[in-house]
Symmetry: D2
Subunit: 294 residues, 4 copies
């Protein structure tokens, strides 16, 4: 399975009552279908998966599968703390037609899980029982736990673990993993501000929240990298830098959803305790996205 190019971890649209909003899922997916995005990650952190019930996750998977064009690779965010529930979710996604599962590192019992063996045990147990390939998902800024490179290198030898999405932004770790994982295992990154240098050192692709609102800019960097147009790549990287910072680090999902609203997608409200942006933050985002089309 080749996980190349740019994947948005898609946002989950809610209506004004806070319910899932199917029409807007359709709207967004059909608009993204017309881009060169490689596929969709459904129910990741950007999809507010920690705010969704199991039934809501399943509905999102079904709807996206219904609306996605056939050339888009479908990846389901299925990781929760326990092995058994993660396996169950993964296999429900597989039954719906998803091709891979993105599984977040378990992290709640940090003092027990914050070591190579515990992470290896979890991912092996999940991958052994999963009917589709597993992509490890590491985002220490949210989980408070950074899966060691050693664990990833060891897990890369498992036949059903095919990739990692490394969102720490730590390029030294990315480089080390690229050097030392089993041939064929793919390292994707999850940080738009370092997309270009990450591709330069060998990342296979990227899962970028920012691509929800501005897919073309990220695809442009990807294409510039592939055709070795270094100046163009660097130039576009600089152009997206501030906007990407605003809708990820600074304002998170509520910021990203507002940028989507600006760019012809449906962003809408997040779920509490996340809150819609204040007017000042909106203006900041409006300015940053002025020249970035959806």
């Amino acid at each position: 399975m080749r996980l190349q190019g740019i994947f948005p971890p898609i946002t989950t649209p809610f209506n004004s009552d806070g319910e899932l909003y199917k029409a807007k899922v359709q709207h967004n997916v059909e608009k993204w279908n017309r881009t060169a995005l490689s596929g969709y990650v459904v129910c990741g952190s950007t999809g507010e998966s920690v705010m969704l019930t199991t039934e809501e996750k399943v509905r999102m998977w079904e709807w996206v599968a219904e609306f996605a064009s056939s050339d888009k690779l479908l990846i389901a965010g299925t990781g929760v703390e326990s092995v058994r529930e993660t396996v169950d979710l993964t296999n429900r996604a597989a039954a719906i037609g998803y091709k891979a599962a993105m599984v977040r590192t378990p992290h709640y019992y940090k003092n027990l899980l914050n070591r190579t063996e515990a992470q290896v045990l979890y991912f092996r147990a999940v991958a052994d029982q999963a009917k589709i390939p597993v992509m490890i998902y590491n985002w220490p800024q949210a989980t408070g736990l950074d899966i060691p490179a050693e664990a990833v290198i060891e897990l890369s030898h498992h036949p059903n673990i095919v990739a990692i999405k490394e969102s720490s932004g730590n390029l030294e770790k990315v480089m080390r993993m690229i050097r030392e994982v089993k041939k064929g295992f793919q390292v994707l990154v999850g940080s738009a501000p370092t997309l270009w240098p990450s591709l330069t050192v060998g990342a296979a692709g990227a899962v970028l929240a920012f691509a929800n609102a501005a897919p073309y800019a990220t695809i442009t960097i990807w294409e510039a990298f592939r055709t070795r147009e270094m100046e163009a790549a660097q130039d576009w990287q600089n152009r997206i830098a501030h906007a990407a910072y605003l809708v990820t680090t600074k304002y998170g999902v509520p910021g990203l959803k507002y940028a989507m609203d600006l760019n012809g997608y449906y962003g809408g409200p997040p779920r509490l305790p996340l809150v819609p942006l204040c007017p000042e933050a909106k203006r900041e985002i409006e300015e940053a996205f002025q020249h970035l089309k959806g």
Copy 2:
């Protein structure tokens, strides 16, 4: 509502297939019923709540309500990331007869939630809609987020927020909260190794994982404190120190479950990725619990 004395956040018994084990819930609760424990917290961190489905949580609440003696106060661990699901869980527990809800600080989107206003917004929104009083639950060692004392002080004025379980072990923060919260708001602690000094500075009680396996020792400290027998309190505090360290910080839930097995309760296996103890760890716990009865 008076939340005084010692509450175990009870463990969740699984059988060898990893399923909930009702007979053992009954066994444990009936054994604890014969102690002076003040009540039970059901589906907290020690109850592996992050490993349970919603249906499993509800079943645990029902079973414990069925077996608990009438003098035990029932508290449900209901906090998840979203306001709406936390409210829903809280009100299901209320319908079963629970008297209070212990609600963990939301923490996944750390960069957005790591501030006073975000925490205040969440707990207010939950408490406004909850049919039973709310106890804030702060355990930064797991969540990676420490609710500021300022937020707790502000929230203490909400009529439906009655207590905090502060498990950080930070006594300076405990003391500050006790000084500055609204009169009547109760500060409980969640750290057995500092139980006695916490009571000394004014903590109303404690929610202690350790009390699952060794309730009498913790009650003895509580009684010694109430009767101002300082030497006895300090002596018992020293006696439990190492054992409490082993089954919380060092070996966590798997260690605690093993200590329960030693002391006439059913501990049983944890859910993966937590794993049963190795023989060496078992011996360490056996030695530490030699003189601590269940």
Copy 3:
């Protein structure tokens, strides 16, 4: 050597040119001489030791030795990163008449020093060559490194290491060290907001920046503890809490120096990059110290 009671780590007075100010050293020390403080720590963190040249440290040691009354125990802050310079400084202080050396944990090369063996090696090497007893000094809030309890327990067996000043505020660690160190080794704390509970669990005394400005309040807590007047101790602990927070955590040395100015001592300006307080901070401190005499 008995290190009981309250020791201020004294501030270093500078004149308006930023030079050491001998007359004010004399003024402060003679005023403290009239209190029941147990002694003085000269050139600790509160003494801005990291801002002083070696010659300035020696001058401070000499001046304080000249002005201190004979009942005050003199302790020199002598810890720097290298063993050889720490030993040299310690023995210069010994020659001036200091009775003990307070030695900060080495910490600059964190990834190498952040382990039990490295800390044990350092303190053993220093203590072997020091002509006066050594007190370990741990303040992770400044050094970014927390000496493990295991290292302290091991070092407590060295004949020339007699105490630790633990300023982390971590009462669980304090309790564990008190339980497990060699008999005779003394645990002092360095955090005024937790003074009383620390004494309650067995701390021998305290080195408190706050005592520079308000010695009587800290001595009152000490005396109340010794005579088992628990209510009085708790009452005074509450009275100093906010003031102590302001001149340590919130405003640090500049805040403490201003409180000294208010209370009849010479505080004066700190050295850059520390800066004198803004008017608003001054007002906050004035209010907090209104009923705390010098």
Copy 4:
């Protein structure tokens, strides 16, 4: 002043008594003189500056100035906590002929210094009085404080602050600084494992501990970058990765000194509490440096 290319922060040679070893300074510098290194940083973290007395630093500056060939730019590591001592050291280095001063972020009083204004105040005060240009030096892994990009951007407008050595390894921060600092201000990096991607995104050069032992490999990457030989740059980056990790992150200065001994330089012993390597670590380094010449 152009700070381009590769600069080693040179190690400080000690003899078996732990004294400065002039003959070996001469040996090392004369050997490095024959390479294309751009200059030398004397008394940085790698030079164990925190272990040196003021007099020893001055001697090191004098000796290196005596032996360095005239085409090498001389930079003195002069940063200590106080403004006045940093200025004094900087101007002594200037008098000896140093062309720039590398000044570490002040960090001991973290809670006061951990903000943009405090860092800006310090560096402005130093730069105002310094007779040579200042390079900011940020190494949060040692100092426990990460100077904010905002502070660096603001300081880049000071006429006497010309560069930053950013050793955090955070490429996103490096990219942001390159985008937002005043034109002409130079961003150098201090992390060998990310040298190539750092150059790719616009770093002016690098100050690399690893270059003490293996200057040619780092220069090769620099030259490959300049001539746009991307494959060669990546290839060499991969070749040095493990060796660089060993002599920086894993074994630090003692590891680097051993690698220098292997490669025809004098490394020698570090100062306590740093300790020479154990045989196993030596073997690890021998293997990693097998194909990296000095």
